[in-house]
Each structure stands twice: as C-alpha cells, then as structure tokens.
C-alpha cells in the first residue's frame, strides 16, 4: 500500500494505491489520523489505485467519515474501481459516503 497526500485549495488530496486488508489497515488508519491533526476541512481521496478492500479497511473509512462529520468537515471519494464500488454498495456504504466518478466532479463539490 502506498499513500501520498498534498495540500490543495479545497483541503487535502490523498491518493491511495494497492490493497487495504487485515495485514495493513492500521497503516492507512495512521496516515489518515495524521491528516486530522492538521484540522482539514475536506479530504479528497483518490481511489483509482485502490485494488482491494476488506472489512478492516471499510472500518477505517467509516471512522474517518465519523471524525470528519464530527468536526464539520467533508470526506469525498473519487475514481473508485467498479469492484471496490461493488463492495461499498453491498456494505451499505455508498449511501453514507460521497462518491464521485471523477476528480473534477469531487472538487466541484463545495467543501462547506
């Protein structure tokens, strides 16, 4: 798994590549926790490189969403591969996350 991030006008853009599973979900969680410390108003997560996710990974997504909501921030996901989107759908996660087809459409979505 590889996680990179950069500051953008609207908040922080994070890109995740590889698998999030039981063996490494805590790396993802730690990386996301570091971003919270910067009190960001919006996290834009590029999911195009995300190739696999298990329930331990989904749990981290849910935790991030809860934390962002608690601070009035936004967590926006974009460019998800169809197989990953399917897992989100089955979990009932598609209705609680803002998922966009493209980065452009995610960025157009106002963070406030």
């Amino acid at each position: 798994m590889n996680i990179t991030h950069k500051a953008i006008e609207q908040g922080i853009r994070v890109a995740i590549e590889g698998r999030i599973d039981t063996t490494n979900y805590n790396e993802f969680e730690q990386a996301m926790n570091l971003l919270f410390e910067e009190k960001t108003k919006a996290i834009y997560l590029d999911c195009s490189g995300l190739s696999y996710i298990s329930s331990s990974g989904l749990r981290v997504f849910l935790t991030v969403q809860k934390k962002m909501m608690a601070t009035g921030g936004k967590f926006l996901l974009f460019s998800m591969q169809p197989t990953i989107k399917e897992i989100f759908d089955i979990s009932g996660f598609s209705s609680i996350f803002s998922i966009f087809d493209t980065e452009e459409s995610a960025l157009q979505h106002s963070p406030v």
Binding site: S51, S54, S55, S56, R59, Q65, T83, E86
Partner: protein
C-alpha cells in the same frame, strides 16, 4: 467439458499468512481461467473467515493449522475452511442494520455480513473437534 480445479492451502493462525492466501487466489483465478478481478470478493470472504479463526479461535501464542480446500467445477466454486479452534458458527451472527445513519453505524460487524452477501451459500458444522465452514459461489 467444464473446467475442474482442486486446490489446497494450509496456513498457520497468523495474520501475515493472509498474504499467502492472496497469492493462492491469484493462482486459482488463473488456473480457473476466470476474468481478472473476479476473485476479489472471494478474497474478501476468505480474509473475513480466516481472520475470525486467526484472531479468536485459539489461545494466544498457540500455533495451529487452518486448512483451505477449493473445488471449482465450472461455474461452481466451493471453498471449505477447517480449523480445530473453539466452536464458532458465523452463520448464526445477526446482520448489522445498514439503514442507520453514519453516526450510529457500529464500526464492526460487517465482515460476516459481507461473506453472506457475496457467497451464494454458507454452511457450518462442528464435527468432532473441527469447525467446518463450507461456502459456495456460482462464478
């Protein structure tokens, strides 16, 4: 004639052994000549089932074996997991409420639900000292 593949893997009850399962499934996907990516939900199901055994079935520090048996008789994939840990029947777990708003959604409880949603059939039996979990999916 449809394709028939029989494959086995034995892992120890340790988290890093899940990486061997990933490789095992990649090989299986290739051998079964299934479209790339269609083992991904199967990977998820196996990871959930095996994590439950790895984390909860045995006393801490005891090294045990978990046996995974796969039969693919196109289009039917049957995966059997056997362990000798504490009795645990995942088919008896209650489904989480997916209609709850995000603030109230519990963080856990999804794994077994996903197993059920992805597979077409899941059955459990305790035979002697063994947990036998059999999961079927029409690919």
């Amino acid at each position: 004639m449809g394709k028939e593949i029989y494959k086995q893997l034995t892992i120890r009850n340790a988290v890093d052994e899940l990486n061997r399962v990933v490789v095992f499934l990649e090989q299986l996907e290739e051998e079964c000549q299934l479209p790339a990516g269609c083992m991904l939900p199967i990977n998820l199901v196996l990871e959930e089932a095996l994590s439950n055994v790895i984390f909860y079935a045995y006393e801490e520090g005891s090294s045990q074996e978990i046996h995974i048996n796969v039969e693919y008789v196109a289009p039917r994939l049957v995966i059997t997991i056997k362990d000798t840990g504490k009795p645990f029947d995942p088919t008896q777990k209650e489904d989480p409420n997916l209609n709850l708003p995000v603030e109230e959604r519990p963080i856990g409880g999804l794994g077994i639900f996903l197993m059920r949603k992805i597979m077409d059939e899941i059955s459990y039996e305790r035979l002697g000292k063994e947990n036998i979990l059999r999961m079927t999916k029409i690919m």
